[in-house]
Structure formats: structure tokens, C-alpha cells
Amino acid sequence: MATAIQPPEISKPEPPADRQHSGGAGFGNFVPSGGPLRALEDSSHEATRTGIWVGLAAITMSFAAFTSALLVRQTTGTDWHHLTVPPIVFANTIVLLASSVTLEIARRRVAAYARNQGVDRLVPLRWLAATLALGILFVAGQYAAWTKLRAEGLYLASNPNSSFFYVLTAVHALHVLGGLGGLLRVFAKLRSPILTLRRSTMDATSYYWHFMGILWLYVLFVMWIKL
């Protein structure tokens, strides 16, 4: 015998306290007026947002280190060749950017669903699935690019250009896989009968994913002009 799930009491949220503190007690949360979200006091949702920015800062720093390694390496040896970036890489770029678009659409659909604005659960799920698929397609496309290079006889250690190509694209792809993991988690939370997906989780995962796109554009740019 199922327990009837009562709609949550609609309590007016406290006006945000004077910002002597942040988070902690979570009294400034927005409690929706309806829909499947439980009116939980979420004390850590802002931390997730801070956390993702901090994480992105670290990733940026790592790629800055790779960039400076590339710049230095170019000047120290006489073996800097020219590497033709396999054309499929540009298709992969479109795919990754498209996945950011589908993710943004998904994000807005999730918000609409959570606010019970007449959006069926399947809609955001489909857009999320599209994002996931595009993400996987991107990684597969990168793998195809590596295969193409191998076919040309360019392996990891063939010359410094190919070394950096493999390292930069592989490390980026690894981070993309991590992002896919995050998206899967959001997907799973969205699928469960009671929505346990926090807005901050959705946001953080999105920021990470969009950053993967921006980072990719940067990597592509560096490779295009330097390799």
C-alpha cells in the first residue's frame, strides 16, 4: 500500500539573510511552488557551484602547463615538423559544440519540468541523451583522428608535433569522458521517479561540459597555429 506523497508545504522562503555568510544554512534557497522537487533545505548547493569553478581553474592551469611545454619544445629542437590536423577533427568540433547546444536545451527543459510547467519528463531526458550521444560521438571521432594519424605513420613518439597532438587530444578526451560520467549521473537522477536532481548539480555538470567545448576550441587553435 503506497503512502500518498503529499505535495510539499508551500512555505515562503525566508528573505536572504544579510550576506554575512554564504550558504551553510541554506535559508536563501528557492523553494518551488509545485512540481516533483522536494522542498529540501539544500545547504551545499552553492558549494557545488564554487567547486566546479575551482576544478575548471585547475584544468585550465594544467593545459597552460601543456601549452608552455609546447612553446618551449618548439624552440629547443630542430625537429619541429608540420602536422596536418586530420579533417575529421573539425567535424568532431562541430559535434562537441552541438552537444553544448543540446545540453543547454536540456537544462532549460529540466528547469521547466521541475517547475511543473507542463513539460513531460521525457523531453529533457531526450535532450540529455542527445548530448550524451554527441559526446560519445566526439570521443569516437577523436579516436578516428588518431587512427588516421597512425595510418600516416605518425605515432606518439614520431616527432614532437605528433607527440603534442596525441597528448593534448588524449588528455582533453579523458576529461570529456569524465564529463560524460557527470552527464550520466544527471541522466540517472532525472530518470528516477522522484526528482533528486539538484539545480546546482545540473548547473555544475553543464558548466563543466561547456568548458570542455571552450577548452577544445583553445586546443584546436593552439594546434592549428603551432603544430
Partner: protein, 587 residues
């Protein structure tokens, strides 16, 4: 029933199983203790390695009983080979810098006390926190595994300069699997550290309780926060460096290895790489790393001194700005490790300037500490003695840095024992004193038992005098030009200095033995120490508002409200001459 009453302040339910309580715990306090235990294990190992090194230096041909059990090839018949000396040297440095000095003052105490001191019930990301510790432990295991591979641990020092570290086993014993394991261990350590820093930063920014403005955070909290910002960017650079090093070693790339090298009669199949690139990447991490090692100690010592002096420092804000200044400047000075490295000599002058300038915030802090002692009511305890000892050691170690910051003087002093004396004074003693001070201070809170004060004071005296006897002479040896990282002293100008080395070795063994007092005190007090009251030191910060040890959710589900800055001492209040931060009473 209103769901709003469900206290979501509880991130997780209380753990029930042994595994969840003590092994894979999400509780920042347990994780802090785990980091401390790991650091303790690492420091004992690192210290034993240093004894072996010191013994070998003055008695190079004497067999060390049992050493052949650790390595048959490294110490046949117990007599250490030159390469094994270098292996022990490498492992000593790596264990101490990473697993002791980054772990204990920062990860251990920071994890335990940062959330409490800001009024939070745990870190922002408890699962990341648990992962962070266990990854550190995995890194430790990978590193220690290097002892057991056939060729032994790497011989390139904790700095692992290319090409020695990059070409593989041609370069010497230990440069095979041992070096690869080292790179892998550090790689994992970097990721663990990044996760830890992430937690510290997010927690400090977002989980402060009501009334806990940034300005009201205790100095040690600030120190942990600033350290985590430094660590985030520094370890993010070491990570790619280790990856590239590993690729050079196993995948045949040439990031760090130029062409035309003949090693062990083999022409190396690499070309075009730059050994200086490794140095730049490594020291870009390495210099902030040493400030990661000292800043938490500065914070802990400040906190303890204020409590012991019964008055705040001359200026809370200035100390914090100085720590920020040091953190910021720490990213601009890495080239001072490379003055004679073949880097553009103009760069050397450029790096020298911020290196000298970083003396300014360090001096301001020292003068403020000293000036705050004036007119105070200093209580002498084991903790405050180590805090005072820190001041003495920080001055000693800092002063020698002034020599090394000047490239012209560095021409003579680079790679001598002067450098070894300098960094041991600041890291190997001052930072360690910060850890000791923190231990004596916070042990009652963490375990519910008091440590034995008399033994603590005895430990202090023996260690204070002992470490001066060990590391002061290093500076004299350096002025004589005594080169470092030598496994034996055979050169004409070095032989006459051996009696000084003998004195140092005896001092090292004696001081090492004195640490047994600390170990005994630690273990005995844990089980048999006198029960600790909630606030034995009459301290004002939030950790002292709770029972010793604290309950699993710190504040028992309450929302703490903070009314005061962290150092209300020298006031007349109901509790005495101090006011707790969460006390509504006004002075």
C-alpha cells in the same frame, strides 16, 4: 509533516559499520586523522632513511646490520652502495616533502579543523574528501613499491631532473621501474591533492556559518585556505609534467631529452627535447610547494601563540595580507632554483627580484609575532614552546635564504650544504615544529585525552637543541663549498670536513632517538592520558565549544552563530579573560 524540518544540514547519516566509521569514512575528522597517521608513518620512514644516509656519509665502508634485508643489491653485506645512498636520498626527500609536509600541517589538521572553525558540519564534498585521502594512500603505496623492484628506488633526487630521470635504466640503477613508479606515485598524489584543495576552497567560501565572515576566520583557517589556493594551481602543473616525464620514459617521446646522448655506451633514441623544460615545470610547482609546506605552520603557530599569549597579534589583517602576499609572490620566484642552470642569465636577475621581495611579508610577519610577545601574558606549554621554537627556526632558515636569493652569491653556494641547511631549517624543522605545536595543542580535542606535558616539554628541548646541532653546521659546510648529494666525501677539500659531518650524524641520531619520547607520548596518551575538558587551553575558536572529541556531526545539528572575531583575549568576561566566538556576551 513539513519536509523543511528535515535537517538537510546533515549531509549524511551517522556511520554504523566499522568500515564506514574508521576506514572509508566521509567524516572530515576521521579523514584528518587518517592523513595524520599517514604522515606519521611517512615521517618515521623518512627519518630512518636520513639516519642511514648520515651513517653512510661518515662510515661509508661500514656494514649497517640488516640493510641487506632491505636491498641485496643496494647494500651487499650491509654496506651501502653509492647508488643506494642516492636511492635513499630520493625517497627521503619525496616522502618528507609530499607525504609529510604537504599532508600533516595542511591535509591533516586542515581537514580536521577547517570545517569546525568555520562552523560547518563537514567539508563541502565529503566523498571527494574520502577519495582524496585514499588516493594519497595509494600514491604512498606506489612510491614505497619502488623499494621492492629489482633495480631499486630512483636515484635522481626528489627533483628528478631530466635527463637522468627521463632516459630510463641506461642512466643508472633505480632509473628503471623505480623512477617510473615514482612518477606514477606523484601523478596520483597530484590528483589527490587537487581534490583536497577543491574541498578546502569550496568549504571556506560557501559553508561558513552565520556571522562567520571571512575576517572572523582564525588565522590558521586563512592559512589553510590560502594554501589550498596555491596548491590548486601548483599541483595542476606538476601533473602534466609527470605525464610528459612518464611518456619520455616509456613511450619514446622527447619532451625533455635532446639528441646525441650517449649513456652506458648506448646512443639514446631521442632528440630535440629540453632538460630545462622539466626544471621550469617542476620548479613552477616546486617553489609554491615549499610555501604550501610552511604557510599552514605559520597559521597554526599564530593561532597557538595568540592563545598562549592571551592577546591577539598586533594586527590580524596584516598577517593575513602577508600570507596572501607570500602566496602570490611564490609563483614568481621559481627561477631562483635555476640561476646557474643554463637559463638565460638575464632571467636570473629577473627572478632574483621577487625572491628578495618575498622577504618583506615574511619579515613583517616575524616582526608582528615578536612584537606581539611584548607585553603579553605568555603561558609556557609544550605547544607554545614549539610555537616559539618555530619563530626561532623560521628566522634562522629565512636568513640563509637571503644569501641564496642573490644570483652572484648563488654561483658559489648553489648545490652546497648551504642550500640543504636552508631548506631543512625552514621545512625540516620550522614546519615540523608547526606540526608538533599543532599536535600538542589539538590532541586533547581530537582524542579526548591530554598529552603528558612534562614529556612534551622534554621532547621540545631535546628537539630544539638537537635540530640546531644538526642543521646549523650545514651552513658552515656550505660556505666551505661542501657539495650536496654526495654519497661519500673523497675530494681533497672535503676530507678535512668529515669530523663536522660526524658531529652532525651523532646529533641526528640523538635527535631522532628523542622523537621516541613524542611517539610514546602520542600513543600512551591516546589510551591512558588524563581526560580532556572541552577547552583546556581557554581558547576562543569554535573547535573548543564542543566536547573532546567532537561528535560525528560537529555541532549536533545546531546552526552555530558567531558574534566575535576569533581572538577576543584580554577581555573581562564570564569565562575569564577570553570570549568564545559563539558567545553572545559582549566584552
Amino acid at each position: 509533516m513539513s519536509d523543511a524540518s528535515v535537517s538537510a544540514v546533515q549531509h549524511h547519516a551517522p556511520p554504523s559499520s566499522f568500515i564506514r566509521k574508521h576506514v572509508f569514512s566521509l567524516d572530515h575528522k576521521v579523514i584528518g586523522k587518517q592523513y595524520y597517521a599517514l604522515a606519521l608513518l611517512a615521517v618515521v620512514m623518512g627519518m630512518v632513511l636520513s639516519w642511514l644516509m648520515r651513517i653512510h656519509l661518515v662510515w661509508p665502508n661500514a656494514p649497517i646490520p640488516g640493510l641487506q634485508l632491505l636491498s641485496k643489491t643496494g647494500a651487499p653485506g650491509g654496506v651501502m652502495t653509492p647508488e643506494y645512498y642516492l636511492s635513499l636520498l630520493t625517497m627521503h626527500g619525496t616522502l618528507m616533502v609530499f607525504f609529510v609536509l604537504t599532508n600533516a600541517p595542511f591535509a591533516a589538521f586542515g581537514n580536521y579543523f577547517l570545517p569546525i572553525q568555520i562552523g560547518a558540519e563537514d567539508m563541502a564534498f565529503p566523498r571527494f574528501n574520502m577519495m582524496s585521502f585514499w588516493m594519497t594512500f595509494v600514491a604512498f603505496c606506489i612510491l614505497v613499491a619502488a623499494f621492492f623492484v629489482p633495480d631499486g628506488p630512483p636515484i635522481s633526487g626528489w627533483t628528478a631532473y631530466a635527463t637522468l630521470s627521463a632516459v630510463g635504466s641506461d642512466a643508472g640503477p633505480g632509473e628503471g621501474m623505480g623512477q617510473t613508479l615514482w612518477a606514477l606515485a606523484i601523478f596520483v598524489f597530484c590528483i589527490a591533492s587537487l581534490l583536497g584543495s577543491l574541498n578546502f576552497i569550496a568549504t571556506t567560501l560557501d559553508l561558513r556559518t552565520k556571522g562567520m565572515t571571512l575576517a572572523r576566520m582564525p588565522i590558521c583557517t586563512w592559512a589553510w585556505f590560502i594554501t589550498s589556493c596555491i596548491a590548486l594551481l601548483a599541483f595542476a602543473v606538476l601533473l602534466p609534467a609527470c605525464l610528459l616525464l612518464t611518456l619520455d620514459r616509456v613511450a619514446g617521446t622527447s619532451f625533455f631529452i635532446p639528441g646525441g646522448l650517449v649513456i652506458s655506451d648506448h646512443l639514446q633514441p631521442h632528440s630535440g627535447g629540453s632538460p630545462l623544460l622539466w626544471q621550469h615545470l617542476f620548479w613552477f610547482f616546486g617553489h609554491p610547494e615549499v610555501y604550501i609546506a610552511i604557510l599552514p605552520a605559520m597559521g597554526i603557530v599564530s593561532h597557538i601563540l595568540i592563545n598562549s599569549m592571551r592577546r591577539p597579534l598586533l594586527s590580524h589583517k596584516v598577517i593575513i595580507y602577508c600570507m596572501m602576499g607570500i602566496g602570490f609572490l611564490s609563483y614568481m620566484v621559481w627561477g631562483h632554483h635555476m640561476f646557474v642552470s643554463g637559463m638565460n642569465p638575464f632571467s636570473s636577475l629577473v627572478f632574483s627580484f621577487p625572491t628578495l621581495v618575498i622577504t618583506i611579508p615574511a619579515t613583517i610577519m616575524t616582526l608582528i609575532w615578536l612584537g606581539s610577545l611584548y607585553g603579553s601574558k605568555l603561558r609556557i606549554t609544550a605547544a607554545s614552546l614549539f610555537a616559539l621554537g618555530f619563530l626561532s627556526m623560521f628566522v634562522s632558515g629565512g636568513v640563509s635564504g637571503f644569501f641564496l636569493a642573490q644570483p652572484s652569491i648563488d654561483i658559489y653556494l648553489h648545490a652546497t650544504y648551504f642550500v640543504v641547511g636552508h631548506f631543512h631549517m625552514v621545512m625540516g624543522v620550522a614546519a615540523i615544529f608547526g606540526i608538533f605545536a599543532g599536535t600538542y595543542f589539538w590532541f586533547p580535542k581530537m582524542t579526548g585525552h591530554m598529552m603528558n606535558e612534562s614529556l612534551g616539554k622534554l621532547h621540545f628541548w631535546l628537539t630544539f637543541i638537537g635540530t640546531y646541532c644538526i642543521f646549523m653546521p650545514f651552513h658552515y659546510l656550505g660556505l666551505a663549498g661542501n657539495v650536496r648529494r654526495y654519497s661519500a666525501f673523497v675530494d681533497d677539500f672535503l676530507v678535512p670536513l668529515i669530523p663536522v659531518h660526524r658531529f652532525i650524524t651523532f646529533a641526528a641520531l640523538f635527535t631522532g632517538a628523542a622523537q621516541l619520547i613524542f611517539l610514546y607520548n602520542l600513543i600512551h596518551s591516546r589510551f591512558r592520558g588524563a581526560p580532556a575538558p572541552p577547552n583546556p587551553w581557554e581558547c576562543t575558536s569554535l573547535e573548543w565549544t564542543m566536547p573532546s572529541p567532537p561528535p560525528f556531526d560537529n555541532f549536533g545539528g545546531k546552526h552555530v552563530v558567531v558574534y566575535h572575531d576569533p581572538y577576543q583575549y584580554g577581555v573581562k568576561s564570564a569565562t575569564g579573560d577570553y570570549l568564545m566566538q559563539d558567545s553572545p556576551e559582549q566584552a
